[in-house]
C-alpha cells in the first residue's frame, strides 16, 4: 500500500519548500506596515488566544459556528494523523502501528476514525449551507466550494484507504475503526487486486490533495488557517475606538493614504480574514445598502498589499491607491458611510479591526487632502470657531438651565463635574434630558457643578471623522481646563462625551473617573438616594435601544436596563438585536452631521425593529440616538410611540 519513498520523498520535499517559500513571501509583506506593539501583556494575549482561537468563543456565538468548531478541532486532531501519513510516506518504518503499543494505537485510530467522520459531516453541512443559504450574497465562490471539497475529499480518501486495508486484512486495529470497518464490509467480496488498487488510489488522492491544499492556502482566503490563531494573540487590548494620537509637526504625514501607512497588524488582519461575512451582516451601513462593507474593506486592503507590497519591499512607490474606485482601493463613499458603531469589531471571530482602519483613511482624506463630504465643512468650522457642532454662540451654553440656579463647578465645594455636552446644552430635545438629570441629582442631594459658558465640545465627532488635528487642539484645551479646575469625577449624559473623556483623554495624561448617567443613576438608586414611584409608569411598555458608545465601546449594557426596571417596575423589552449585537441609530462616527443619501436610512431600519413589539416608549441613553429615533418615528408616522432618555423616565417617577 505504501508508495515508493523514492517517488514520494522528492514530491513532499518540493511541496514543503514551495509552501515555506509562499508563506515567507506573503507574510513578509506585512513588514511594509508601520510598527506597532502587539506583544505587551503576554498572559492576557495567550489567554485570549486560547479562548477565542482554540475554544472559538466568538465563532460559536453565531449560526454554524459549532460546525466550524468541529472542522477546526478535526483539523488539529487530524494534523497528527496527517503528519504520520506524510512521514510514513518517506519512512515506511515510522508508521504508528509499528511504533506504538496496541493499547495506545487503538484508541488513537479510534479517535482519528470518528473525528474524520465528524469532519466529513461538518464539511457536508457547510457545503449545503453555502449552496442553500449562503452567509452573504456572493459567498458561493468556487474558492469556498473548492476548499470544502478538498477537505471532504481528504476524509473520503482517508476512509477509502483504511477500508481497503481492513478488507485486505492489513489493518491490525480494524476493530478500533468503526467507520472504516463498516465501509470495509462494503468492499467485502472484492478481489485483493481491486482492494489494493482502491488503497493505492486513496493513498495518492489523500497525499495529492493534502499537498495541493497546503500550497493553495497561502494564495487563498484560507490563509486564515495560518493567520487567525496569531491574530487572536495580537488582538487589541485597548478600546479599539481610541485611535493612537498623531504628532503635528512639519514634515509628518497623517492617516493612511497608502498601504504602508497602515501598521503591520492592520496588514496582518487582512490575511486573517476568511470573508465569513459576519461583519458585513452586522454593519449598519452594509445592511442598508451603503457602499461600505467591512468585509470588502479587508479584502481590498489585502489586494492592495499584494499589488503594492513587493514594490514597497524593493523601495518602490505603490501603484494602486488605497483610497479610490478600483479593486484594491476603498471608495471614499464607503469610508464616509461608517458610523463607527463597532458592530464589525464585535462580530469578527478573530478580532480583525475594520473600523479603526476606516478612521485612519478618513484621517488621510481630511488632513492630507482636505477631501470630505460638503456638509462637514460647516461642522469643522463650527467646531473650530464655536466649539460646538451647530455653531451656536458659546455664550449660550449655560442657557439650558433657564431660570434655575445651577452651581459652577469648583473643586472642593462640588464633588462631581456634570459635563452637559453640546447636545444637552443646545439641542432643544436634549435640554429636557439635562433638566431631568438636574432634577435627579437635586433629589438625590448630589454635590455637582457645571462649567457653563466655559464648557467646550469634547471633540468626539472630529476624532471619528478623522480631523485629528482639530480634535487634538480641543482635547488639549479641555484637558488643560479639567486639570486647572481640579476635576476628578465627571458625570456625563452623552455616551460620546463619556467615551472621549474616559478613553481618549487618557492619551493626554488625564485620568478621570467618568460616570455615564445610566451608571450614576443606578448607583443613586442602589444607595437609596432616590425615591421612585414605581406605579407612575407612563408611556406604556418600554423597549430599550443600546447606544453603541455606551454598550459595545464601553461594555455598559446592564446599568440602563436596571435603571429602567427600577423606574418602571419591570425590565424593558428587548429588540432582536441587542447588547453587543445592537444595531446603530446611524448617527455615530460623525454621521450625525452628514446627509444620508445612499441606501435605506439606518434610523428607519432600527425604528422598524423597535416598533415590532408595539412599544409605548423607545428608551435611549444618547442624544444622537434620541434624535435618530424621533426622526425615524416621524417618518413611520407612528403617533403612539415616544422616545425618552432613561433620565426622563426616572425624573418622571420621582416622588
Amino acid at each position: 500500500m505504501q508508495p515508493d519513498p523514492v517517488i514520494f520523498t522528492p514530491l513532499l520535499a518540493a511541496a514543503g519548500l514551495i509552501f515555506a517559500w509562499s508563506c515567507y513571501r506573503r507574510f513578509s509583506l506585512v513588514g511594509v506596515g508601520a510598527s506597532e506593539d502587539r506583544f505587551s501583556s503576554l498572559a492576557e494575549r495567550l489567554q485570549g488566544m486560547f479562548l477565542f482561537a482554540f475554544l472559538q468563543k466568538r465563532v460559536v456565538s453565531r449560526p454554524f459556528g459549532i460546525n466550524h468548531l468541529f472542522i477546526f478541532w478535526s483539523f488539529l486532531i487530524l494534523a497528527v494523523a496527517n503528519t504520520e501519513f506524510l512521514v510514513a510516506g518517506v519512512f515506511p518504518a515510522a508508521k504508528l502501528a509499528r511504533i506504538l503499543p496496541a493499547a495506545l494505537y487503538q484508541p488513537l485510530v479510534f479517535v482519528f476514525d470518528i473525528v474524520s467522520l465528524c469532519a466529513l459531516t461538518a464539511v457536508v453541512i457547510a457545503l449545503v449551507r453555502r449552496a442553500v443559504a449562503p452567509p452573504y450574497e456572493g459567498a458561493r465562490t468556487g474558492e469556498a466550494f473548492g476548499i470544502l471539497s478538498m477537505i471532504g475529499t481528504l476524509m473520503l480518501a482517508y476512509f477509502g484507504l483504511h477500508a481497503a486495508e481492513i478488507a485486505l486484512g492489513a489493518e491490525e486495529a480494524a476493530q478500533a475503526m468503526p467507520v472504516s470497518l463498516a465501509l470495509a464490509s462494503l468492499l467485502a467480496g472484492q478481489g485483493p487486486e481491486t482492494l489494493k488498487s482502491v488503497a493505492q488510489v486513496s493513498w495518492w488522492l489523500h497525499a495529492g490533495v493534502l499537498l495541493f491544499f497546503l500550497n493553495y492556502l497561502p494564495y487563498s482566503k484560507h490563509m486564515h488557517i495560518l493567520a487567525a490563531i496569531p491574530n487572536c494573540f495580537f488582538k487589541g487590548l485597548d478600546t479599539p475606538n481610541t485611535q493612537p494620537r498623531e504628532e503635528f509637526v512639519e514634515g509628518n504625514v497623517y492617516g493612511a493614504g497608502s498601504i504602508d501607512r497602515f501598521t503591520w497588524k492592520d496588514l496582518f488582519d487582512s490575511f486573517s480574514c476568511t470573508e465569513c461575512g459576519r461583519c458585513e451582516k452586522s454593519c449598519p451601513a452594509a445592511s442598508t445598502g451603503k457602499p461600505l462593507n467591512p468585509r470588502l474593506v479587508m479584502h481590498d486592503i489585502k489586494v492592495n498589499l499584494l499589488a503594492n507590497g513587493g514594490l514597497l519591499q524593493r523601495g518602490g512607490e505603490p501603484t494602486v491607491p488605497v483610497i479610490g474606485d478600483a479593486e484594491g482601493s476603498i471608495k471614499p463613499d464607503a469610508l464616509w458611510s461608517c458610523t463607527s458603531c463597532g458592530a464589525c469589531l464585535a462580530a469578527c471571530p478573530v478580532f480583525i479591526e475594520q473600523m479603526p482602519k476606516i478612521t485612519k483613511m478618513r484621517r488621510h482624506l481630511v488632513q492630507m487632502e482636505a477631501d470630505f463630504p460638503e456638509e462637514l465643512l460647516n461642522l469643522f468650522e463650527n467646531m473650530e470657531q464655536r466649539s460646538n457642532p451647530w455653531g451656536i454662540a458659546p455664550g449660550e451654553r449655560g442657557k439650558w438651565a433657564g431660570g434655575r440656579e445651577v452651581r459652577q463647578f469648583e473643586a472642593g465645594t462640588t464633588e462631581y463635574l456634570y459635563f452637559v455636552g453640546c447636545a444637552g446644552s443646545f439641542d432643544s430635545r436634549s435640554k429636557q434630558v439635562t433638566l431631568a438629570m438636574t432634577r435627579i441629582m437635586e433629589a438625590a442631594g448630589v454635590s455637582y457643578g457645571i462649567l457653563g459658558k466655559e464648557e467646550k465640545c469634547c471633540g468626539d465627532s472630529l476624532r471619528r471623522l478623522g480631523n485629528e488635528y482639530l480634535f487634538d487642539k480641543m482635547a488639549r484645551e479641555n484637558v488643560a481646563q479639567f486639570q486647572e479646575k481640579g476635576v476628578t469625577k465627571v458625570v456625563t449624559q452623552c455616551p460620546h462625551c463619556f467615551t472621549t473623556l474616559k478613553n481618549d483623554y487618557r492619551q493626554y495624561g488625564l485620568e478621570l473617573e467618568v460616570i455615564p448617567h445610566a451608571e450614576f443613576i443606578e448607583s443613586l438608586l442602589a444607595e437609596g438616594k432616590l425615591k421612585l414611584d414605581h406605579h407612575a409608569k407612563k408611556g406604556g411598555n418600554i423597549v430599550f435601544h443600546d447606544s453603541c458608545y455606551l454598550g459595545r465601546h464601553n461594555g455598559v449594557y446592564e446599568a440602563p436596563r436596571a435603571v429602567i426596571a427600577q423606574a418602571t417596575g419591570s425590565a424593558p423589552a428587548e429588540m432582536e438585536r441587542n447588547r453587543e449585537n445592537s444595531f446603530c441609530c446611524g448617527a455615530g462616527g460623525g454621521r450625525m452631521w452628514m446627509e444620508e443619501h445612499l441606501g435605506e436610512r439606518i434610523n428607519l431600519n432600527r425604528v422598524s425593529e423597535a416598533l415590532e413589539g408595539n412599544p409605548g416608549t423607545i428608551c435611549t441613553t444618547c442624544p444622537y440616538c434620541m434624535t435618530m429615533m424621533e426622526d425615524g418615528l416621524k417618518d413611520r408616522s407612528n403617533g403612539g410611540t415616544t422616545v425618552k432618555d432613561i433620565a426622563e423616565l426616572v425624573a418622571e417617577g420621582l416622588r
Binding site: 497623517y254 492630507m368 482636505a370 469643522f380 455653531g391
Partner: protein
C-alpha cells in the same frame, strides 16, 4: 500676474450682542472669524492660481491680531499675505479703508501686474458693500459686483466675462482687466486647509505694511480720513405680535379673519 483677495477679520456676529445701555457692540471675548463672503473671494483667487498660474495674494487691513486671519489664507495656499496695519489706519470708515487697500495693491503692482482683485460682496459687521467698489474706483479697475460665476477669462486679451446675481435676474457682463470683482456665496465652495499647509502657514511670513511703506496722506486714512462715523447702534424695537383666532380648531374662519386684518391694514390690495 497677481490675483488679490481682500479679506477682513470680523467679530463673529452670531456671538455679538449690543450693550443695551451704551448701545455699542459687546466685543469682549468674542472670537474673530474671516468675513464669510471673503472666504469665497479667497477661494476664487486660489482657483485662478491653480488654473492660470497666477500668484495669489491675500490682503487685509486691521490691527496686528489680523495676522491670524492672514495665516488662515496662507494655510489655504496663497503665496503672499499682506497686512496693512498702522495706528494711523485705526477708526477707518469704508472710504479710508479703500484708500489704504488701493495703495497696498498699487504697491504690490510694482512687483508684478495685478490682474484681478476679489472682495466679498460685503462684510457681516459693517454690511456696507462699499470697500470693493471703493478700491476699484481708486485704482481705475473695472468694477464687477455680486458675481456668482466667472464665465470666461482671456488674460491675453485682458478680458473677463462674469455673471452677476441680481435680485430676480442674472446679468452677464464683460469687462477689461484689471478688474475688481465682489463675490457672492454661490460662486464657489471654499476649501479646507490640509494639516501640512496649516503647519507651514504657522511659520510663513505675513508682510506688515504700515504708512511708512504706503506713504499715504495722514488725512486720507484712519479716523481722520473718514467722513462717516457711528453715532449710535441699536436694535430696532419690534411691536409685540398677536395671535389671531384658533388656527387648529377653525382654520377657515381664522384665515378669513387674517385676510380681513391684512386688507384693513392696507397690507393686501383687493
Amino acid at each position: 500676474m497677481y490675483v488679490v483677495a481682500c479679506i477682513k477679520q470680523v467679530p463673529d456676529t452670531t456671538q455679538v450682542q449690543i450693550d443695551p445701555v451704551t448701545n455699542t457692540l459687546v466685543r469682549d471675548g468674542i472670537p474673530f472669524i474671516v468675513n464669510p463672503y471673503d472666504t469665497h473671494a479667497l477661494e476664487e483667487s486660489l482657483r485662478m492660481k491653480a488654473r492660470y498660474g497666477f500668484k495669489a495674494a491675500a490682503l487685509s487691513m486691521g490691527p496686528p491680531n489680523t495676522e491670524a486671519t492672514l495665516r488662515k489664507a496662507l494655510a489655504l495656499g496663497v503665496d503672499e499675505a499682506i497686512l496693512c496695519s498702522d495706528r494711523a489706519f485705526g477708526g477707518a470708515d469704508t472710504l479710508s479703508t479703500s484708500n489704504v487697500l488701493a495703495a497696498a495693491i498699487r504697491k504690490l503692482a510694482q512687483e508684478d501686474e495685478v490682474g484681478i482683485v476679489f472682495c466679498g460682496k460685503q462684510t457681516i459687521d459693517g454690511d456696507t458693500a462699499q470697500v470693493g467698489p471703493g478700491i476699484a474706483i481708486r485704482l481705475g479697475f473695472s468694477q464687477l459686483t455680486l458675481v456668482d460665476r466667472i464665465e470666461h477669462l482671456d488674460f491675453l486679451a485682458k478680458k473677463i466675462r462674469v455673471r452677476r446675481k441680481l435680485e430676480g435676474r442674472y446679468e452677464i457682463v464683460e469687462a477689461k482687466l484689471p478688474a475688481m470683482i465682489t463675490v457672492v456665496r454661490e460662486l464657489n465652495r471654499p476649501r479646507y486647509p490640509t494639516v501640512p499647509m496649516r503647519l507651514k502657514a504657522a511659520k510663513a511670513e505675513v508682510k506688515v505694511w504700515d504708512n511708512k511703506e504706503l506713504q499715504l496722506d495722514p488725512n486720507s486714512v484712519g479716523l481722520k480720513g473718514s467722513p462717516t462715523w457711528v453715532s449710535r447702534i441699536f436694535s430696532p424695537q419690534r411691536a409685540a405680535g398677536e395671535i389671531i383666532g384658533d388656527g387648529m380648531g377653525d382654520p377657515a374662519g381664522t384665515a378669513r379673519l387674517l385676510l380681513e386684518k391684512l386688507v384693513a391694514s392696507d397690507m393686501l390690495a383687493v
